[in-house]
Symmetry: C2
Subunit: 584 residues, 2 copies
């Protein structure tokens, strides 16, 4: 393999174009192998192999600084910077992350996993260079899909007036995760159509020099373009047109589906099975929305470019038609848009991932909650997990629940979720967030008839004494286990409570517990700092009640196994009961 | 007065253009009177009088929906919608807010005080209209300064593909709060210069129809333009060129200074006194930065369009030159930019207001903290206050302090602030935030020699027993008063602690208190939910220690007086000691 000879980008310099083309194919083999074994980003990486080679051929990393946006397209870069083992050595795939990671290599400048960051970060690098009177190229590599995010757009505005070297490589593969949405993308399409010649040009209006490369998978064209802009003294955009999924036919033809893949997709592609129509929280959600649509209600399903993560399949979107909006990667806009829809009398249902809801705090507070706009916001994937440090789902509780006016609900099973969805959708008083249960669907087996308009009413599931366990959302099952364990180990008939409301305290119930309880245990599937349990601890601070809060520590974990995390945080029934025993 | 005849926008319809011009002057008198009596936004309101009249003359509010961005320019609208008393009746000025406020009028659609929101909110309204098959105009009125914010730019991208009626009125007065910054503004300048004819047009690239009005203070021109776009079926931008500060000469000539004014500015303008060069936290900050500049260090002072709020005066900026960046209204970019600067070896010092730091949570978490970029971020105006509900400074502690890796410091006086500034600036390990004390400068009278690189070490100011008071930041003075009061009223020699670190617990000190204390009191100048005190309560949850948390309730207060709030939250020494007495 040619790749075997590449220990650093410097080793590219002696290759011929033919060799570089072979190298691109080898890189694609590495991408396919890694993703097939452990899952990961596929389409964007396959499409950027040539451009990454050309970048490293023309520029001199790490002296020249290349910032990779969101890192969905960083695999080729990793292979060219001495991390081949993460793609070809099946025993060592997990040694490297799927994201930009400075701990792995001096060629990775930031830990990055959220989108739309590269231009702003690189603008800071360029300014630092200028202040220190140093001399190197600063390059932000950004996908077209990431361009719609506020941080990227704010960055463009400032980068364009840098008055010094600054290069944006726009990797335009005509796709976000799903299809691109919005006016910017119409302009990109026109620029592609005219091979960059259209006079009315988004980047030029911002003040950038602009260069178009139609053959974004052609090494020669790329090298030529990059050489042209190297050492430029003006902020410049190089718009390269690449093929998402290149080299793997299914990924070329179904770009959304192959943006990311689970392990064993190659085998599964050869023997496609019927797609699962199992019951799931996603399916409950889409069924709920489709039902409203069928009744001609003004329901508005909204995603910010991650439809697949919420079960918003192509079929679902096709059925919804005008009742569906993908606002593109634009979480701030998504929340404000939902607020406007609600105030206009429509029924917005916005789905967001826990890790991305933090991209829109101000809008939740000001546009939504302060206005009590009755939107329904569903938070998916909120849980302690083995995720990469950039995609943790443990921060949404402190983030959302400390904003006044918001009602944040934590269902523990299918029936509660349905009841809460109905409540959120039908009411007109509050901005209601629901933390959709994470993991396999659970069913109580009977309808939940709770009236959720009576706010902050916890459910007393079984009344015991001495110890009360508040199991929030995902951790209600764990609370039940703790209750059993207390019975078995300590012969304590503990009280079991399903709080349901993350955003408020059930004063009556909590007062009542004082009579015959000594210890309150809170369990939440997120960080403790600023979360649910600490409010309970504060509530009982002036009393004799002892309170034990269980949840995650305030830290960025990084692909730590769930078992390890549960051990670390004492999130097993055995460890919890031991802790309880200690203070009884 | 003509204004006396205007009880609703409908009453405008019968006026002649001459009458409307007189009305504009009357409106300006109202603006000047209100701001001179109680302070408020001056320049932007003076400049938009004619456009507001023309808007209400052509469109039919409230059937047609007009969303006012940030509300810096909503005074004329308020006068035309039956709220004249808030401008002319000196006894009733405080009856109306300075911001868009649905509680006051059906013509105000949202409670708005943060910027860059109108396009996104209005897009939601327009979509709701379309889903409900209703028929009216939706208009977003936005200033040029607000355009740089991510939410506005994200909104443009989605609004432009609405495929139905949507009108953006861009009020271009050539200014943000201070001067506009960035590539977008170069394009606006070119559009003004060519009277809208320049082919390369930011709004057209986004897909909008576009109309330019050079005479943005001329009723006739405005009416003509608005009539042209009324009932349009395509998203359209009307770019009007107005004069900020129109009609008040000092405001026309010094646009930044008169963006906002304090009471009595008219008298003060006639008899200008020497501007204050008193010692202040702002001056300490700017002196610190200028000192670094004078030593040729790569210091980078950054603001997101609010330089005045941090003492970043015109003189300061002139001295700093390339070491100063106003990134425009773009808080997300500001944080990422600071992270890039720090990684590039420069020394960023970013100043933000507490109310606006919430516009950039994800960037603090991902771009900054996850990367441990050693930037210094100063949070001003973090405190319980009588502010409008849109500008509260009580949420920054939960927001910032629950993000891993961040070091958030709370100085209590000048010397601590200087020591913390030095620590933050000189270290290379952490993203350090400092909650700049709010209110008059306090001095300890001696240098603070604390080594802040030893994280989470609280200062034991005086060691007593039974009761320990942790007075965080601004509330350290209150803690001292409580200590005195405990001595006087209950003869308790209480322990007084200055925690200094918001983001971590001093385990050793807190453990040590268990020996001879029964009650811990925490005081913080912000909301309790998710804040500092609740962490202390959780810490002691498993022990016999009682904990009383004092701070603000989780609520949007709205111009409530500080006295009232302190009473409500028990934030006086008397009320606190009563609460302590109750549980002793």
């Amino acid at each position: 393999m040619i790749l075997d000879k590449i220990a650093s980008p410097n080793d590219l310099k002696g290759l011929t174009v033919d060799e570089m083309e072979m190298l691109a194919d080898e890189i694609r083999q590495g991408i396919l192998n890694r993703v097939d074994k452990i899952g990961g980003h596929l389409g964007p990486d396959l499409g950027i192999a040539e451009a990454t080679i050309a970048l490293h051929y023309v520029f001199n990393s790490p002296k020249d600084k290349i910032v990779f946006d969101v890192s969905h397209q960083i695999y080729p870069h990793k292979m060219l910077t001495n991390r081949k083992q993460g793609f070809f050595d099946n025993e060592r795939l997990l040694e490297i992350t799927g994201y930009s990671c400075p701990n792995e290599s001096e060629h990775d400048l930031f830990t990055i996993g959220h989108t739309s960051t590269s231009i702003s970060l690189a603008t800071g690098l360029a300014k630092a260079r200028d202040l220190k009177k140093e001399n190197y190229n600063v390059i932000a590599l950004i996908g077209d899909g990431s361009l719609s995010g506020g941080e990227a757009l704010e960055g463009l505005n400032n980068a364009s007036v840098l008055n010094s070297n600054f290069i944006i490589i726009l990797n335009d593969n005509e796709m976000s995760i799903a299809q691109n949405q919005g006016g910017i993308y119409k302009n990109l399409a026109e620029l592609r159509k005219t091979e960059g010649k259209r006079e009315n040009n988004f980047f030029k209006t911002m003040g950038f020099d602009y260069l178009y490369v139609e053959k974004g998978n052609d090494i020669n064209s790329l090298i030529e373009a990059f050489k042209k802009v190297k050492d430029t003294l003006k902020p410049t955009v190089v718009h390269i047109h690449t093929l998402k999924g290149k080299g793997y036919a299914p990924a070329e033809s179904n770009k959304e589906r192959y943006h990311w893949q689970l392990p064993n997709f190659i085998e599964n592609d050869k023997n496609p099975s019927q797609s699962c129509i199992c019951e799931s929280y996603e399916k409950i959600t889409t069924d709920f929305i489709l039902d409203k649509k069928s009744k001609n209600e003004p329901v508005a399903a909204i995603t910010a470019a991650t439809p697949g993560a919420h079960g918003f399949s192509v079929e679902f979107r096709d059925k919804l038609k005008e009742n569906y909006t993908d606002v593109a990667i634009a979480e701030e806009h998504a929340i404000a848009y939902a607020s406007g829809l609600a105030k206009g009398g429509a029924k917005p249902v916005l789905a967001l991932l826990s890790s991305f809801v933090q991209r829109t705090y101000d809008q939740i507070s000001q546009d939504l909650a302060l206005n009590n706009s009755p939107a329904t916001v569903l938070i998916f994937w909120g849980a302690i997990s083995a995720a990469d440090c950039t995609h943790l789902g443990v921060f949404d509780i402190p983030l959302i629940s400390n904003i006044p006016n918001v009602v944040y609900l934590a269902p523990t099973n299918k029936e509660e979720y349905i009841a809460m969805l109905n409540y959120a959708y039908n009411q007109n008083e509050h901005s209601v967030f629901i933390r959709v249960p994470f993991g396999p669907l659970k069913s109580a087996g009977y309808e939940d008839k709770t009236d959720y308009s009576i706010l902050n009413k916890y459910e007393m599931v079984s009344r015991g004494q001495k110890v009360a366990i508040l199991g929030l959302g995902n951790f209600f099952e764990l609370a039940k286990d703790v209750q059993d364990e207390l019975k078995n180990k300590l012969n304590i008939e503990a009280t079991l409570i399903n709080p349901k409301f993350i955003t408020g305290l059930d004063d009556e119930l909590l007062q009542n517990l004082k009579k015959d309880h000594d210890v309150i245990v809170t369990l939440e599937d997120g960080i403790l700092d600023g979360g649910f349990g600490q409010k309970i601890a504060s509530y009982y601070g002036s009393s004799d009640m002892k309170v034990l809060n269980f949840g995650a520590k305030k830290e960025f974990t990084d692909r730590d196994s769930l078992d390890e995390l549960y051990q670390r945080y004492h999130l097993t029934k055995e460890l919890i009961v031991e802790d309880i025993k200690e203070i009884l």
